[in-house]
């Protein structure tokens, strides 16, 4: 599936038969673009407000040495190639020896000389291949028995990354409900900045809970937006311990 945009790079995508059956090819660019928005941009958002980039846990667990394993795999591949080369050279040498013997039997002059030179060359190549193989074997022996190596234990990291994902899921669900009660479009970043980070006051009585959001220092457009968000929150019918929650704006100079 190739998309040639009016400007920019050509988008070339491919899919397995199951995907072709389930999704029309013309929808592929949109689906791939959605992935970019959901994941690539989602990670950026989670770095900003979800501490996605933070490392947790330095505990180490002993496990197989993967560096040694990779070296061993590479060497084994090289050794197999070297063995194949030696086998080929042995075959070539035997073939050349047969040819030399044939020339001797037939009493060739110049051809015998050529074939003897060829035999010498093949013998030298075989020696080089065997030398190469011996070096590979030496390297393999130098690696020694399989080693163990301390590797980072990712369990704490996984728990905290899960925490970040749960927070992001919750924020998205909250935004979906809030946006359902708003007329304007507001981004999550804007709500975090306008509402979540702002200070205020609260008063709990026996019958209700009142939250005031401090509007000091807000520009008029932001104030209007915050007012709309606050109205949206009121429409969400928030409750705590059975009491209704009322949200209001208030100037609270420092």
């Amino acid at each position: 599936m190739i998309v040639e945009p009016t400007e920019g790079k050509t988008f070339v995508s491919w899919g397995t038969p199951k995907l072709k059956a389930a999704l029309e090819a013309t929808a592929w660019p949109r689906v791939y673009r959605d992935r970019t928005e959901i994941q690539e941009n989602g990670f950026k958002r989670m770095i900003d407000h979800g501490a996605l980039e933070t490392n947790y846990g330095r505990k180490k667990l002993v496990g197989p040495d993967r560096h040694q394993q990779r070296k061993r795999e590479d060497l084994e591949a090289s050794l197999a190639t070297a063995q194949q080369r030696v086998d080929k050279k042995v075959e070539a040498l035997q073939e050349q020896q047969t040819k030399v013997a044939e020339s001797k039997a037939k009493g060739h002059g110049k051809r015998l000389e050529q074939r003897q030179q060829g035999l010498l060359r093949v013998a030298q190549e075989l020696e080089e291949a065997q030398h190469q193989q011996a070096k590979q074997v030496e390297h393999m022996e130098a690696l020694g028995p399989p080693k163990e190596r301390a590797d980072r234990d990712f369990r704490k990291q996984t728990i905290m990354t899960y925490r970040t994902l749960l927070l992001e899921n919750a924020l998205m669900a909250f935004m979906a409900v809030l946006l359902g009660n708003l007329h304007s479009k507001v981004s999550l970043a804007c709500v975090l900045h306008l509402l979540f980070e702002r200070s205020g006051a609260s008063l709990e009585t026996a019958s209700e809970i009142v939250y005031w959001v401090n509007t000091t220092g807000l520009s008029l457009p932001y104030r209007r937006l915050l007012e709309e968000v606050v109205n949206g929150l009121s429409a969400m019918d928030l409750r705590a311990q059975g009491k209704p929650i009322r949200v209001d704006l208030k100037d609270m100079p420092p």
Partner: protein
């Protein structure tokens, strides 16, 4: 304060209109009025003593209070305090239970109330309790604090970890050095040592494996997007830092392979060492995603672009949408293509 939830005014109709003065703000005046309304016979000095014992003491004189009482017509008759026959009960709708004149991160408090209303943490606490019990059963000789935590303690500690990023707290040690409103949000604050121990105990009982089902929403959708996110590890030891490292060097850190559904909700996560490429673990990972969500159509970036991968996915009867590497073709001229149509944005297909 007898207010209906839909009323937009600060005070009830019977109360005077408050405006912020030079000494007292609107909220403080409202609070004082409520206290006086509850007990109009109380002498001003006793009332000030009562205010001084609260979380938000006010800096005001008896004279100023008397002036306000006169203004609100809630002044006490001369003489010793008498018990009014029509005294209100403390539990009346106007009684102030708690007052916080200064509260940071108001939005987070509202968000927390919404989450509580949705019961968002109930499955998490249930799974943590279940994991703890299972560990306790498997290791009867072990004993640590998590075994003895009640559900509210588990909930509060997990909530402390959950809300910390919204207060700008990234590493747990920042709980000791940064001001944060955990006390007003959860009813108590936490030091980093408490939460570090809690996290260590969660790790011990294997919470990293049991919590994932709580991520999966009721409707998962047809298509799952998968991407790996590299998290670089920083240390005081001299090492190559950042995600771009020298050739042959492996970046210190971890790779979080995250799956999202069509609606953008995260549904699965696995952490891997960085020296293991995504293409080596992707089939096993997708198998876990299929088991968790039932979705068999995947969209993955160029990290898994290969014929072998296409064959592996086809063999499992999974759908895979992937992108060809830009370095593999100079443009449209390198393909034998026939036009199929035009997209909405005018691009040629």
């Amino acid at each position: 304060m007898p207010l209906a939830s839909t009323q937009r005014k600060l005070n009830p109709p019977s109360s005077p209109a408050f405006c912020a003065g030079r000494k007292l703000g609107e909220v403080e005046k409202a609070w004082l009025w409520t206290l006086l309304y509850e007990d109009p016979q109380s002498p001003s000095r006793l009332l000030l003593d009562k205010v001084a014992q609260t979380h938000a003491p006010l800096d005001m004189s008896v004279r100023h209070l008397n002036r306000l009482r006169r203004q609100w017509q809630l002044q006490r008759p001369k003489g010793r305090p008498r018990h009014a026959p029509e005294r209100r009960s403390v539990a009346s709708g106007a009684a102030v239970v708690e007052m916080r004149p200064r509260l940071s991160s108001v939005g987070v408090h509202l968000f927390a109330h919404w989450l509580e209303q949705q019961g968002a943490f109930a499955p998490v606490v249930a799974r943590l309790t279940q994991a703890t019990r299972a560990y306790q059963h498997a290791h009867p000789g072990d004993d640590f604090a998590l075994f003895h935590h009640r559900a509210p303690t588990l909930l509060r500690r997990f909530q402390a970890l959950f809300f910390a990023p919204l207060f700008g707290i990234e590493t747990l040690t920042a709980l000791d050095t940064h001001e944060h409103p955990l006390a007003t949000l959860l009813g108590r604050s936490y030091q980093s040592s408490t939460l570090t121990q809690f996290l260590g105990q969660l790790e011990r009982v294997g919470a990293d494996e049991v919590l994932f089902p709580t991520l999966v929403p009721a409707q998962t959708g047809q298509i799952t997007s998968i991407d790996g996110h590299l998290i670089a590890s920083w240390s005081r030891v001299a090492m190559h830092k950042g995600k771009i490292t020298m050739r042959g060097r492996i970046m210190a850190g971890s790779q979080a392979v995250i799956a999202h559904n069509e609606a953008g909700y995260a549904v699965f996560l696995a952490s891997h060492p960085l020296d293991i490429h995504v293409s080596r673990i992707i089939v096993a990972y997708c198998q876990q995603v299929v088991e968790a969500t039932g979705s068999t159509l995947f969209v993955i970036d160029r990290a898994v672009n290969s014929l072998a991968m296409a064959a592996a996915f086809a063999e499992q009867d999974w759908g895979l949408l992937c992108m060809l590497d830009d370095n593999e073709h100079p443009g449209l001229e390198s393909f034998e293509a026939r036009p199929a149509g035009t997209l909405d944005d005018g691009s040629q297909v």
